[in-house]
């Protein structure tokens, strides 16, 4: 039994952080998870301890944030640090619902990337730990113009 397991080892996975995303949100698609302010309606990602704009405590609730957005800027990293499958594309993404984040792109290799290009959220492999565990997290797939 043990021999078979090591021969056909399926990599274990872990989320890059436990509070950043869900694989299946309220509409069955991957979503980011962050905060929303009851007073201003603004979304924040990742979760905040308090609203950093209004500086009020107690006005934030947990919220799902849709991954639709656009590329603000991007680069292709030729050779990353150990554990990062290279080359990989890194982008700053502005989500339609407001927050911005820096994340890797998925399925970018055969596409012409452009500033302002629309993207959708995928949960994918961000890096691999030394013991082979795959680190999963939000990545963005460029959409055809």
């Amino acid at each position: 039994m043990a021999e078979a397991q090591s021969h056909n080892k399926v990599p274990t996975t872990r989320p890059i952080r436990p509070d950043l995303f869900v694989e299946r949100g309220s509409d069955g698609r991957p979503k980011l998870t962050g905060s929303r302010c009851r007073e201003t309606g603004e979304y924040f990602w990742p979760v905040e301890l308090m609203n950093p704009k209004t500086r009020k405590l107690g006005t934030l609730t947990g919220a799902e944030i849709d991954g639709a957005g656009r590329i603000v800027s991007y680069t292709v990293v030729a050779r990353g640090l150990p554990g990062f499958a290279s080359p990989y594309a890194m982008a700053t993404i502005a989500l339609d619902q407001g927050p911005t984040l820096i994340a890797q792109l998925e399925d970018w290799q055969d596409k012409a990337l452009a500033l302002g290009q629309r993207v959708e959220l995928k949960i994918g492999v961000i890096s691999t730990d030394k013991d082979g565990t795959q680190v999963m997290g939000p990545k963005f797939r460029p959409l055809a113009p």
């Binding site: 890059i16 950043l20 800027s73 680069t75 292709v76 990293v77 990353g80 150990p82 820096i102 500033l115």
Partner: protein
Amino acid sequence: MKDVYVIGAGMTDFKPQPDVPVHELAFRAAWDAISASAVPLEKIDIAYAGHAYQGPCFGQKTLMRMGATGIPIVNVENACASGASAVMGVIHAIKAGEAEIGLAIGAEKLTSPGGGFLPIVADDLDSAMGRVMPAAFAMQARLHMERYGTTKEQMAKVAVKNRRNAMRNPRCHMRKEVSAEEVLAAPMIADPLTRLSCCPVSDGAAAVVIASGEVARRYAAKPVRIAASVLVSGSRTPYGIVDDRSEMSIRASRKAYDIAGVGPGDVDVCELHDPFTIAELIHYEDLGFCKPGEAGRFIDTGQSAIGGSVAVSPSGGLLAKGHPLGATGVAQIAELFWQLRGEAGGYQVAGAKVGLAHTVGGGVSKLESGACGVHILVA
């Protein structure tokens, strides 16, 4: 308010020195600064040591080598602005009347006998997502290129200029000229930044002795006045660190110009934060040497060369010297001190009267950066 002056400076070579312990590097720079200032060791009232990764009580471990013990020693970490923060700490102590003479040291050892990468900070989300430093600046480059038409050739000219300046600086790591073609053809690191668009890995240390007005004049025939010492932390900008300008650098330098009573047009010599070619271009605009979007033209027309309207990175800058984090901010003050006294040797900026030092950095997810330090020195 008391005036404060730099009265002595010291600096080690900036290059990989894997077999030299960091406290020895710092000791050498500190001892050279103190010797140059002619201040007896017992008269140093306070010391600040700026570094990012060198461990607890770095200042104490350095100064005990010269028998300096018992004085207040404060160790400061502010990522790339650690050195500038150390200088500011000494200035504040003197202005508050708590010290007459102080020592600011900055040092960093990035190499180790076995080699290795810079430690990733485990709790920074951007780093864990794959945002290495060159990637951040590469994204900034793309924005600047898209918005203003800045070209890869213009970015390459920064490396060409700074490496040429470095030929006359014996303390520099990279002392071989490069052509723009070589910069563009070098291995890609993060598009559009090639290996020659990025600063090399160096170890190094620098130190300056700072004193209040009357005391300064007792020791130095030509003390150099620190007309402004400004530190700011990063704002939560809309896009985190990626914008086509450095808001913190704009904010810190405006405050410094205000306090010093000079403007960008008065600056003769500038040592700024150029770990990547694009950074120097953007900082020309942030520091007011030219308008937003004009940085490409500024370097095209030779205005940032020695002999231009403001000599930027005459020492070779981070691009040629490398960036031992804690050392850089203090090294810039030392460079300006020598420039404003006419002691910069082969890379002297003729007639330099006003100098500006600028460092910025510290990756914090959601902030532009951790800290930006700007100092203005006047002959």
